[in-house]
C-alpha cells in the first residue's frame, strides 16, 4: 500500500496548497507543512510548547484525541475557543488523514 497521503493546507493569505506526505516516516503534520516550504513558525520544534503551529481542521476527520499538554497549550495561547483548533505538531500523520483540510492559524506567521 502506498504510504503517501494528500493534505490540503490553506495559508494565511487564503491560498490553497495540496501537499503530499509520507505516513511511514514518523512525521507530524507541522513537519509535513514545513517540508513543503509553507511558512509555519513552530518555534518549539514540535513539543507542544509554543502554539505557533496552530491549525484549524476544516473537514471532519477522525483525529487522535488531544493530549492534556496540547489542550493546555492551546488554552494558554487563547486558541481553545476557536473551534477545531489543533497543534499540527501533535498530529502524527496516518493513512486515515488522507484528504484532510486544514487552515494555518494566525500565530504560524509573524
Amino acid at each position: 500500500m502506498e504510504a503517501v497521503i494528500n493534505i490540503n493546507v490553506t495559508d494565511l493569505l487564503g491560498n490553497k496548497h495540496q501537499i503530499k506526505a509520507p505516513t511511514d516516516m514518523g512525521l507530524n503534520l507541522m513537519e509535513a507543512i514545513r517540508a513543503n516550504d509553507l511558512q509555519i513558525k513552530a518555534t518549539c520544534g514540535g513539543m507542544a510548547m509554543c502554539a505557533t503551529c496552530h491549525v484549524v481542521v476544516i473537514n471532519s476527520h477522525l483525529l487522535p484525541a488531544m493530549s492534556e499538554d496540547e489542550e493546555a497549550m492551546l488554552d494558554d495561547a487563547f486558541l481553545l475557543n476557536i473551534p477545531h483548533s489543533r497543534l499540527s505538531c501533535q498530529l502524527m500523520l496516518t493513512p486515515e488523514m488522507d484528504g484532510m483540510e486544514v487552515k494555518l492559524g494566525e500565530g504560524t506567521g509573524e
Binding site: 511558512q39 518555534t43 518549539c44 513539543m47 510548547m49 509554543c50 502554539a51 505557533t52 492534556e68 499538554d69 493546555a72 488554552d75 494558554d76 495561547a77 487563547f78 500565530g107 509573524e110
Partner: protein
C-alpha cells in the same frame, strides 16, 4: 548613557558566548534583553529539557547550559539591561551607535551584535477590555524585582510553570497571593503543583480554578480585579494591587525590522565569513541571521559569535593585528 565596546542585543546562548569570545580579545560587552533573565529560548521555553548536541556534553539541561555560559562570561564582567526591548538605533557624530530601549535606557557602542534569536520575547496578553490602561499601574507581565510585591495583594493568572513558580515564590513576599486558573488542573512540574496545593491547604495562598480574570478596576492604579467562574457564572471582586497574567511569552521580531537591515523572511541576511550585515559595524549571530546553509542550532551560533568577534575587533581597531591565542596558553584574563 551606558557605554561599551560591543552592544549585544539578546542575552540568549549566542549573546552570552559573544561576551566570552569578546573578552578574550579584551573587548567589553553589554547585553540588552526583553526577558528579565538571561538565556533566551533556553530560559524562557525549555529550561528543564535536556540538550544532546552541545559538543563535549553528552547531555545538559538547557537551564544548566545557561548557568555555565553565565559563569564562563563572568570574568569579563558583562553589563545587562534586562526586561527592556532595544527599540531605536541612531548613528552618533563620533561614528558610534546609540541604541535606546522601550524604557528609555540609552546605550552607545562602536559595534552592535544582534543575537536576537527568533525575536524579542513578548507576553501573551489575555483579552481584558482595559488591560492596557493598567500596564505599569498594577499590571505586570514579567517579574523583574519581586520586592515590588512585598506586602501587596497580588493576583496571578495562568496554569503553567511560571504561574506556579511565581505563586510559590511570592507566597512569602506578598500580603496575599491569589492564583486564578481557567482550568481545573495545573500543568507544570509535579513538585510545583504539589507545593501550590500545599500552600493553599495551609491558607498561605488562594487558588481559584475554572475561573478567569475578566475585569480590572481602579481610578488610576489597579485596585481590584473581577473574577468570573465558568461553571457557576459567579462574579466576584477581589482587592488587588497587582495583576500578573502569566500565559507565556512568544518571540516577535518587532523593532529590528525598522533598522534598515537586509532581511530574508524573519531573518537578517549576513555574510557567513564574519556575520556582518549590510550596515558596517552591525553584526548578527545565532537564530536571527541567515546565509546559505544556515542551521538554527546553538553550536552553530557559538561558531558564528567567534568569527564575528574577530571581525568586530578589526572594525574597532583597524590598525591592530589580532593574533589568535589558545586559551590553554593565554588563560582567561578577567577585567
Amino acid at each position: 548613557m551606558i557605554e561599551t565596546d560591543i552592544l549585544v542585543i539578546g542575552a540568549g546562548p549566542c549573546g552570552l558566548f559573544t561576551v566570552f569570545e569578546a573578552g578574550l580579545v579584551k573587548l567589553r560587552c553589554h547585553l540588552i534583553d526583553a526577558l528579565p533573565q538571561p538565556g533566551g529560548q533556553l530560559a524562557e521555553i525549555y529550561p528543564k529539557k535536556p540538550i544532546y548536541d552541545i559538543p563535549g556534553f553528552p547531555m545538559i539541561m538547557a537551564g544548566e547550559l545557561v548557568s555555565n555560559l553565565m559563569k564562563q562570561a563572568e570574568p569579563f564582567n558583562p553589563g545587562f539591561t534586562l526586561g527592556e526591548r532595544a527599540e531605536h538605533i541612531e548613528k552618533m557624530e563620533d561614528g558610534r551607535w546609540k541604541v535606546t530601549t522601550n524604557r528609555g535606557t540609552v546605550h552607545a557602542a562602536p559595534v552592535i551584535a544582534i543575537a536576537a534569536g527568533l525575536g524579542s520575547f513578548e507576553p501573551r496578553k489575555p483579552e481584558i477590555p482595559n488591560l492596557l490602561n493598567f500596564e505599569d499601574k498594577g499590571v505586570e507581565y514579567i517579574i523583574k524585582d519581586p520586592e515590588k510585591f512585598r506586602d501587596k495583594n497580588v493576583v496571578i493568572s495562568g496554569g503553567g510553570d511560571s504561574a506556579l513558580d511565581w505563586t510559590i515564590f511570592l507566597a512569602d513576599v506578598a500580603k496575599r497571593v491569589t492564583l486564578v486558573h481557567r482550568r481545573s488542573s495545573f500543568r507544570g512540574h509535579l513538585d510545583s503543583v504539589h507545593k501550590v496545593t500545599e500552600l493553599a491547604a495551609t491558607g498561605k495562598i488562594n487558588i481559584v480554578t475554572n475561573s478567569e480574570v475578566t475585569g480590572l478596576n481602579g481610578s488610576d492604579n489597579l485596585e481590584s480585579v473581577t473574577i468570573t467562574n465558568f461553571d457557576t457564572e459567579d462574579i466576584t471582586n477581589l482587592e488587588a494591587d497587582y495583576f500578573i497574567p502569566l500565559f507565556g511569552l512568544s518571540p516577535k521580531l518587532g523593532p529590528l525590522k525598522n533598522w534598515d537591515l537586509n532581511l530574508h523572511k524573519e531573518s537578517i541576511t549576513v555574510n557567513p565569513i564574519d556575520c556582518s550585515t549590510n550596515i558596517p559595524g552591525i553584526y548578527a549571530v545565532g537564530d536571527i541571521n541567515d546565509y546559505p546553509g544556515k542551521l538554527r542550532l546553538i553550536l552553530c551560533g557559538f561558531h558564528e559569535a567567534t568569527m564575528m568577534v574577530q571581525s568586530a575587533y578589526k572594525y574597532i581597531n583597524p590598525d591592530k593585528n589580532l593574533v589568535l591565542k589558545y586559551t590553554t596558553v593565554s588563560g582567561v584574563k578577567a577585567f
